[in-house]
């Protein structure tokens, strides 16, 4: 049910946090649960925490998949 939408890391912030972009909407999240995240990486964010890091190919595949969803789906 909770869709795994890859968010692009756009900036690293102090205190193990980052700015991420999700469909053009900018937000911040905690990086406490993932290691070695760099700007340009994709992460799956849940309630303010990055849960996992995706490689670019995986992220693009997921984003393409989500883009195909009907408009009322998410």
């Amino acid at each position: 049910m909770c869709l795994a939408v890859p968010a692009l890391v756009t900036a690293l912030l102090p205190d193990d946090r980052a700015t991420v972009s999700l469909g053009g909407v900018s937000s911040t999240c905690s990086l406490e649960l993932v290691e070695g995240v760099a700007v340009g990486d994709y992460v799956i964010v849940h309630v303010g925490y990055a849960l996992s890091r995706l490689d670019a190919e995986e992220a693009e595949r997921t984003l393409a998949l989500l883009a195909e969803l009907p408009a009322d789906a998410a």
Binding site: M1, L22, S27, E58, R61, A74
Partner: protein, 403 residues
């Protein structure tokens, strides 16, 4: 991992559906409770794809239960392709159970160190999850070293008992340190003593939920789903494209998740006898589910053997149209996928019903637990509803309003 309260940022909402709870408070009670779940129809993205690709993509779509999603789709495809009889299910099924148990335990762990402290107004401790995540992440490679555990027809199963035992020991240690602060309570007396000790966030939340005005609060009287067979879910989902919008079992709503799984556990039986069917019982079931997980997994490890991927040459002949259903267990309860393959082996239709569909249905356990419940005032109604939502644990954000 659902979050009750004001967590409706665009990021979280775009990451899936949301549950909205609207309460009307009058005469010292919740006079009306309206529960509405906005569900992402993510399975629509699988339609039109070949079975193998659908099974590979399903885990990527869901952030919290990707393994269970992938396995449910793989099982549905195996049923539709007629592979199931040829599979060495005796070998793959225990291994698959370990994969979903590990995922469920990680999810429970998140509750214990992130969500439960937040309910108490204490700082969440996500860093404490690292050790648990390392242990649960070690399970899949110790079973399917080639990384093909979610493959249709089963992967190359080569269990590494030493690595699995090590991972299970780390999980048990983690629970003892981070959740229970010692051995888990075994009955209502032990639960009360453990809560009074208040050594962990979980124990401090127990102390709050065992308060006389809360322990029996939120009784819903909704029966457990119980049903596990793919045949039952196939009939339900296959016969009604909108089944997940109003899931029902024998014409009634049903509850799935830890309480359903652990209703017979001594702690839950004892807590139910003392506190009735409310918050304390639901919390006791969550504790029991967590405590039992490494023990059950250890039992499963002894049943493991090697197995090879199913020879699909027969199935790789002319593709046949067919339907299939697959069921998998998640922390929140039972998940089922139903799909129809067309004559070319692509998905022509895909449907699913997830635990949040059951527990947060318009007339489901949350709605029935809230309706008529005693509350001193509107603020208490929101606070108590938030506790009940957390005990039922939606996989999407949840907003609670008093109208």
């Amino acid at each position: 991992m659902g979050h009750a309260g004001a967590h409706g940022s665009p990021m979280q909402l775009s990451g899936g559906g949301a549950v909205s709870v609207r309460l009307a408070v009058a005469g010292g009670r919740i006079a009306a409770a309206e529960v509405a779940a906005r569900r992402p129809r993510a399975v629509a993205a699988l339609v039109g794809r070949p079975a193998d690709e659908a099974a590979r993509l399903a885990p990527l779509l869901f952030s919290l239960c990707g393994t269970a999603q992938g396995l449910a789709v793989a099982r549905a495809c195996e049923a539709a392709l007629g592979l199931a009889p040829g599979m060495d299910a005796g070998a793959h099924e225990p291994a698959r159970g370990l994969l979903t148990d590990a995922e469920a335990l990680e999810s429970h762990g998140w509750q214990a160190v992130v969500e439960w402290p937040a309910l108490l107004g204490a700082p969440p401790r996500p860093a404490a999850l690292r050790d648990l995540r390392a242990a649960t992440a070690a399970v899949a490679p110790a079973l399917y070293p080639a990384g093909d555990g979610l493959r249709i027809g089963g992967g190359a199963l080569r269990p590494d008992p030493a690595a699995l035992d090590g991972a299970l020991a780390r999980m048990s240690d983690w629970l003892e340190t981070q959740v229970f602060g010692g051995p888990p309570p075994g009955d209502a007396d032990a639960l009360a003593a453990w809560a009074a000790g208040g050594r962990t966030d979980a124990a401090r939340l127990a102390a709050r939920l065992l308060a006389p005005d809360l322990a029996g609060w939120g009784a819903c009287g909704v029966g457990a789903l119980v049903e596990r067979s793919a045949e039952w879910f196939a009939a339900a989902l296959g016969g009604d494209a909108d089944f997940a919008a109003r899931p029902h079992h024998r014409d009634a709503p049903a509850l799935t998740g830890p309480l359903e799984r652990q209703a017979g556990h001594p702690l839950v039986v004892s807590a139910t006898a003392r506190h009735g069917d409310g918050l304390a019982r639901l919390f006791a079931a969550r504790l029991a589910d967590m405590a039992e997980m490494p023990r059950r997994m250890a039992g499963t490890v002894t049943a493991l053997g090697q197995a090879d991927p199913t020879d699909r040459r027969a199935a790789d002949g002319p593709a046949q149209a067919g339907t299939g259903c697959g069921v998998a267990e998640t922390a929140r309860g039972r998940l089922a996928h139903w799909l129809r393959l067309d004559g070319t082996g692509r998905l022509a239709d895909a449907r699913m019903v997830a635990p949040t569909d059951w527990n947060f249905a318009a007339d489901g356990p949350l709605a029935r637990g809230l309706a008529g419940a005693e509350v001193p005032d509107a603020a208490a109604a929101v606070a108590r509803a938030r506790l009940l939502v957390a005990m039922l644990d939606p996989c999407v954000a949840c907003e609670i309003d008093v109208v």
